[in-house]
Symmetry: C2
Subunit: 327 residues, 2 copies
Amino acid sequence: MPPDRISSLGEKKLISRIISRSASFFKPSELLGLGDDAALLDMGEEYLALTSDLLIESRHFPPTMSYQDMGWKTVTVNMSDLAAMGAALEGFILSMALPDLELESFDSLISGVLEACSYYGAPLIGGDTNEGDEIIMGGTAIGRVRKEFVMMKSGARPGDLIAVTGPLGLGAAGTELLLSGTDTAGFEAAVEKSLKPIARVEEASRMAKSGLVSSATDITDGLISELGELRDASGVGMRIHEVKLPVPPQVSEAASLLGVDPLELALYYGEDFELVFTAPPDAMDELSRIMEVHIIGEVIESPSIEMVDKHGDTYKLHVRGYEHLRP
Amino acid sequence: MPPDRISSLGEKKLISRIISRSASFFKPSELLGLGDDAALLDMGEEYLALTSDLLIESRHFPPTMSYQDMGWKTVTVNMSDLAAMGAALEGFILSMALPDLELESFDSLISGVLEACSYYGAPLIGGDTNEGDEIIMGGTAIGRVRKEFVMMKSGARPGDLIAVTGPLGLGAAGTELLLSGTDTAGFEAAVEKSLKPIARVEEASRMAKSGLVSSATDITDGLISELGELRDASGVGMRIHEVKLPVPPQVSEAASLLGVDPLELALYYGEDFELVFTAPPDAMDELSRIMEVHIIGEVIESPSIEMVDKHGDTYKLHVRGYEHLRP
């Protein structure tokens, strides 16, 4: 029998494997944020929140993406993870491996990083530069959050409503259009979302300070995958309604042009960088007065992810998404 | 004329370029640790110290290195940077890209990371896993240091003595022997230093708490390169004495076997993970009572790096070392 390879497990199981091995080395109190969007360090009244993401040119950057946008995206994916914990952004560290770029391309890459750091209000505070065969951008974002405001994946309770902060599937539609080489005229919003995504930092901050949210995460691996994360961490189930999903016309049009199901783009693709969160009905009502809220479903007891389709029929969804390290 | 490429500048000039561009986006107080071993965030009485290093299988891991040792080294290079600032180690974040490894190799890699985290007393608190064509290990280490104890590159003053915490050139000798495929019998210490380096965390902590050190850094790019860093940050010069350099016999023997100058291995190679630091003579005397100290020279006014050779002749050294992004 051939030996097992890591592709037979997939990313999420590999992470669980690392976490369970860590448990034999360290105390549970030292492993607070493991498996959540960001790591947490106990600093007394506050948590320090830290997250680290590695982006590889050939795998994470759509074709035609400019160097400037690669820099921007590297910062955005990290800020999005921090924001999803409710953390105020404090700084960014950039660790790169680069092929022998033209100096002008290098300057654009850095300028995208600095522009994004400045936009999110978190200075570039350090880094490391190496040679590599292709562009590898490693980012680490640091933030702080008062303990009572921290938003984890684990607080959802049956009866809570489920909501997202904005449209679903736009980033996916943009990326797929670019990958297919299709003319993108008329799909500017989708292409913009794919090439220059913006982390929902302002909304996350409002949510955190309101103290009204029971669980939250950012949508980087697709809505269903993230709902699966909230479910697993909270020990509940999730039911969403097809008619309530904020899927913009551009996504349906792109899907028909590409010959794919629009729900595939909206539910399983990710790259939207919207937040998905839960809160009790009254709290959700209050939240909708201070920010954009699209209610898409409710937390249930049975530990499944269910979809009520447009005909009113309910069926279970298989939790999958954009997962690395899959065959 | 062909466009300029980043190889025409080299790593250090690229970093300066990033720093000077940052200055137009952020306040100097926000950019405290830029260019030092670790980034610093002001937390009131303390600094939070953060560092991030990316290791790439084909470039940073000697041949025959085990997966376990790759994991160990990833943690060590980051802990060494933090220790050099005087920081107490608090946590580690691992961000990886991996090819489709056998599960057993993956487990060894993670076990090396966890073993090192446990050795340095800093739990693995988070991470990220991606697919890649080869092993890329991105590490971020987090620590804390009281403001009065922080050790920067910038405090060296003329008249201070220069010292290192241990032998020079061993890691270089080990790596070069492994690369050349030479029989390594009799070179166990060199090979061990190359495959399983240990960051000088305990010594760094004593140095920091003593308050006696005027500047410090860890030797990752070679002694002369690091002396150049201390010189540039402090606005002074450095003079070292050939006869005072702690170059063990194994390094000279390896050099003769490899047909290279032993000083090339001891001064320009790095990978030693010893600390180089400066302190006034009385302070150095006191430090030598609490830890291993090898005095190798003195800080001078004229901004050069000088070597007094074994015949008593003085000549200037060109600052070079193991620098990435050079043609």
